[in-house]
Amino acid sequence: MKNHAELSETFNKDEQRVNWHDETLWWVRQKRDKASHLIPDWELLRETASQIKHNVLSNLGNYLEQFEQNAIKNGITVHWAADAKEHNEIVHGLLKKHGITQMVKSKSMLTEECHLNHYLEEQGINVVDSDLGELIVQLAKEPPSHIVLPCIHKKKEEIGDIFHEHLGSAKGEANPQILTETARIHLRNTFLSRRAALTGVNFAVAETGEFVVCTNEGNADMGAHLSDIHIASMGIEKLIPQRKHLSVFLRLLTRSATGQPITTYSSHFKKPRPGQEMHIVLVDNGRSVQLGREDFRNSLKCIRCGACMNTCPVYRRSGGHSYHTAVAGPIGSILAPNLDMKQYSDLPFASTLCGSCSNVCPVKIDIHTQLYKWRQVIVKAGYSDKKKTLAMHGMAKTLASPTAYRLAGKAGRWVIKHTPFAVSNPLNPWYKQREMPEAPKESFGEWYKKNRG
């Protein structure tokens, strides 16, 4: 399995494409800046959202029970899934019970995290993603590369080719309007013929037992309203205490995500219509473990707006797939090691710790501080390169002793040998695209001795 550095190197082979990817996402970041700067109380809004989520995480068990009781009262069936496997089996069980072999799905990062599509396909169930971006990556047999903009890594010409192959659009057609129409016709048939619909959940209100799904395309509504059975999958951290708290989150979500004031559709689902079944699957899948990690608990505040990805200078130049996990970017890099520390031990290091992510995050997660802390945890757990550990021990010893440092450092040799960027060797990765700094005649220490000593 390739790590982030290797996958990014591949992505960077085509520099023009990297430029395009970087600029596209930077444009989204700028739209976010404009929208947020228009709200004088923006920082207060972020703080408020962060505090509300703090309350939720501190009382998660109680809110979950309250939500369950109210949802049941409303006529919704509530399921609990400890992990991805249980979630997938619950969904499959419901479909099987009704003899359904085809399902339409609106965007849900949780089902990506659980690899639901793959699982259901193996059980002989056909799943169609109804979010346009999701549909594109599904047809291309790729995972999404961004949680809000799943096919942001694809150019319109490439999308044209995919639609030509799968949906029968004209060869070479790359007009976004026409391609969208093509998808629309395809999806309309799907909506009309599917008896089961699965949606994600953006917010679940404990006080009322309802849940809210935010989309721009109305695809969640189309699927849910036409289905006999509506299944909603949600991570247990999606709760908010009261309906009034939505006013905070809905203002933040899309401004942070794309710079829009609000999603086109913020649909509330409270009870099944007569004759329909409505199910909610509450999924843990590592969340309660993360809740128990004090340093990383706050990562569960995430409302999946994607702002940290759009602003991340590394993500913009490495692409979402370089993170080899469902949720990419800075937030993915602090969520993934919780699920599998070994497999994702590279991700907390895929950052310069510049801190821009923490500044855009609408719920004020201290993302870059958590990346730093994960590094410490991963090294202590033994998931770092043995050679690096050895070198670090040597470095620690030298830097703790001025005599050793001066001895080794005669004419700067120690620094030249040990600073990763200064190793005078053309094989050093630094040298591939950068020159070495020139060593001056004398160090500052030597100058000081002569002139001030």
Binding site: N359, Y372, G445
Partner: protein
């Protein structure tokens, strides 16, 4: 009496600045002296420990930390021409037996431009630098030490290094397309993630070039060293210079 009132500053020069950029360290020293500060450079200093800590080995920085405390506990202030190293000390310096002294240092360490602005309250400088200058906002200085307002936030703009540069005769600050994007250095990131790191550096440099900068300056030499490596490889005419050298007044021998 005067002697007692006079503040004593311990100068912390990070290892790579000591070895590769002595000019920046000399300028820092001279500038502080010019402003009437008594400056001392403890000869036994080595490093802040950041190279280990950022790589996930903070637990190995104990010895380095103790040495730092021994070297700098006795001063009224500790000043460093590196935002990144100053931030590391501020956030992570601890001591086994001398925690009080360590806490003292965490509270009295300053990056140079914030020391000039917040402690010395400098309002004018006797320096001239008639050039178009691009100011690189180093992330740790900006987002960590809050040397300047961050574009992500909805808040009043300010810039400590920017205001100081504006006190220098002849400096023309260029406006960048991306005012505070990271240069991609990131410590060991620069070699471990070579492809992305170099691309970030190239993009940052291009922004300064496109907007007509003759010099790129910053309050952090690690970023400047990264960008210098790229500029030199590209045989660019743009040069890097540490902010202390501009504020101290460059002797006009610079080509």
């Amino acid at each position: 009496m005067l002697q007692i009132c006079k503040m004593k500053v311990g100068l912390f020069i990070p290892c790579y600045v000591d070895q590769f950029y002595p000019k920046a360290a000399i300028a820092t020293l001279e500038l502080l002296e010019k402003l009437g500060v008594e400056v001392d450079y403890p000869a036994q200093q080595t490093c802040c420990g950041q190279p280990m800590a950022n790589s996930g080995y903070e637990h190995l920085t104990g010895g380095c930390n103790e040495l730092f405390v021994d070297n700098f506990a006795g001063y009224d202030y500790v000043v460093s021409p590196s935002g990144s190293c100053a931030l590391h000390i501020k956030e992570h310096l601890h001591s086994h037996d001398k925690e009080e002294a360590a806490t003292g240092i965490r509270n009295k360490i300053y990056e140079l431009t914030e020391f000039l602005t917040d402690v010395l309250k400098v309002e004018k400088l006797d320096a001239r630098f008639p050039h178009r200058v691009g100011l690189h906002q180093s992330c740790h200085g900006q987002r960590g030490l809050k040397l300047a307002q961050m574009t992500e936030l909805t808040a009043e703009p300010y810039s400590k290094p920017g205001s100081l540069l504006n006190m220098v005769d002849g400096v023309e600050l260029v406006t960048l397309n991306r005012a505070d994007e990271c240069c991609g250095f990131g410590g060991t990131f620069c070699v471990a993630e070579e492809a992305v790191s170099a691309k970030m550096g190239k993009d940052r440099v291009a922004d300064h070039e496109k907007n007509g900068a003759e010099y790129i300056t910053a309050a952090d030499l690690s970023c400047l060293m990264h960008m210098e490596g790229i500029l030199k490889r590209q045989k660019s005419n743009v040069k890097v210079i540490h902010i202390a050298e501009i504020l101290n007044g460059v002797k006009e021998t610079v080509a």
